[in-house]
Symmetry: C2
Subunit: 317 residues, 2 copies
């Protein structure tokens, strides 16, 4: 299990290519949540999502043979962009399998970063099993979405939160495969065990929440619009870390996620993707409990498709 030392070690490789992202307090948002509310702007990253930190740490730590043989992975979008970005930075080939109905904007972005994109299967899990076999056949390195170097890389955003707001009381983090919340929990609890870590997933894709609750691996129906939260099969290594470091695990409805996207557009003028709006939706559910706390919402990414944005704006307000 990674420790804060591993995450501190990743800083060197992350900041070779990236700058810290802002942590901003918005007064209008604080009024709405009823307490001092901060946004960690991972949507400001070059590929529009926090995962790029993990990709860069992973690529920096490959063996020479691994670099030569290329990286293989599956993605609904952001993880793939992260791997493509990191591979390009190190001159490594990347091959990414995406579900047949993948977000076209994210596919175009991966290709723009030089990745070879292959379509396969109905969802992330199908694409993953397929590309894993291909990697094996070709002798390439398969990268799973929760590999340890990824967790350590993404954990650097939590170091930034603690650096910018040492008095943080609660951090709310969206969960897909769980790398983000694991990195956050490891860092926050090592520095101050009283910081509360809240994980959030969509009620329309609760596999990680049900697994965390029960202490076993539970598959669940996956019907969420939030591709960053769309996990059908839980991940064992992140579950293990989450059981140690996560204090609460919440579910929010997709409809509340849509409203939260709207609120963030209106009050912060940031376009955020569905997963990234889940922490705000969660905070609005537990306003009473958050009073007088310094709350950080991790806005994990900004890659909302323009079609989803249109649908959302025509439906609300």
């Amino acid at each position: 299990m990674p420790t804060i030392k591993d995450i501190i070690a990743a800083r060197k490789y992350v900041y070779r290519h990236l700058r810290p992202t802002p942590l901003y307090n918005y007064s209008t948002l604080s009024d709405l949540v009823g307490t001092s509310t901060w946004i960690k702007h991972e949507n400001h990253q070059p590929v529009g999502a926090f995962k790029v930190r993990g990709g860069l740490n992973l690529a920096a730590n490959l063996t020479k043979k691994e670099r030569n043989n290329g990286l293989y992975t599956a993605s609904t979008g952001n993880h793939g962009q992260s791997i493509a970005y990191a591979a390009r930075a190190y001159g490594i080939k990347s091959v990414i399998a995406v579900p047949e109905k993948a977000n076209p904007g994210k596919v175009a972005a991966m290709r723009g970063l030089g990745a070879k994109v292959l379509f396969h299967g109905a969802d992330f899990d199908e694409a993953r099993e397929w590309i894993k076999q291909i990697a094996k056949d070709r002798g390439g390195k398969f990268v799973g979405p929760t590999d340890e170097p990824l967790i350590c890389g993404v954990g650097t955003y939590a170091l930034e939160i603690l650096n910018d707001l040492p008095s943080v009381d609660t951090i709310i983090v969206p969960v897909g495969a769980g790398s983000g919340v694991c990195g956050t929990g490891i860092v926050a609890k090592a520095i101050n065990k009283d910081i509360e870590i809240i994980a959030v997933q969509s009620a329309q894709a609760p596999a990680m929440k049900l697994s965390w609750d029960s202490g076993t691996m539970v598959e669940a129906e996956m019907k969420t619009i939030a591709e960053g939260l769309a996990t059908r099969v839980p991940f064992e290594n992140t579950q293990r870390i989450m059981r140690k470091y996560v204090d609460n695990f919440m579910l929010v409805d997709d409809e509340d996620i849509k409203s939260a996207i709207y609120v963030l557009l209106e009050h912060t003028h940031n376009l955020v993707e569905e997963a990234a709006a889940a922490p705000l939706a969660a905070s609005l559910q537990i306003k009473e409990r958050l009073k007088n706390k310094n709350v950080v919402l991790v806005v994990s990414g900004g890659n909302l498709s323009i079609q989803n944005l249109k649908d959302l704006l025509s439906g609300i307000g």
Copy 2:
């Protein structure tokens, strides 16, 4: 006239509160413009616009008496947010006059930052003359939108551009009152006089362009939707600097600005305000001439109102 030395001196006060903003290359955007195209993300600033740099430099350099008596200014929104943000950072009172039909989101943001907001007049120029008199009556400091400390503060983004991309060939900057393009020109030409500085304004509000062309102060009709470009009466001090440092001054139609907002949403997932999309619209007009150049588009701010976003999305695509 300020020099690059004055802008370098402003760094100390700007970075006391802000971090450098990213300069990102987007492959899909580069394909569209037909050359390597970079976005300077001033929309990532805490108040969503580049002007906050200027406000912070101004506030840091006030006399004790000026701090005690407060800051008075007029704004269509972003300049006011900048002054409010800086005033709050230094514990100074700020009073901001806005036109009667000001963007409600920007007004709420100014109030959220602790400013006293007063509505007066049909446009920026009317609000300004009115608040100037009030400042005089009360012994407060009136801050004009092109005061030298503001130009020096905002010029720090140009230092960041040159630092991140020393091989930049062309920088395209939107012009309202002109502080941004002046800071950019002063920095870029001091470092490399071959860097081309292109100013851009809306064809529906060409006062600054007509003044620059003619070498005299020309008022012009102002009907643009882009509040950041909505100048009816030109500013003499920025005109003087622009005549020295700006190589070309372009006009783009409001309709092209709207399309550019859409393109930036789709390809960069950043919400940008009208003025901030003008450089992309301009670059698409002169694609042939930009070939093989490293082009930086200054995305000056992100404060698009949700109503304008809705109108835009229902009209396009």
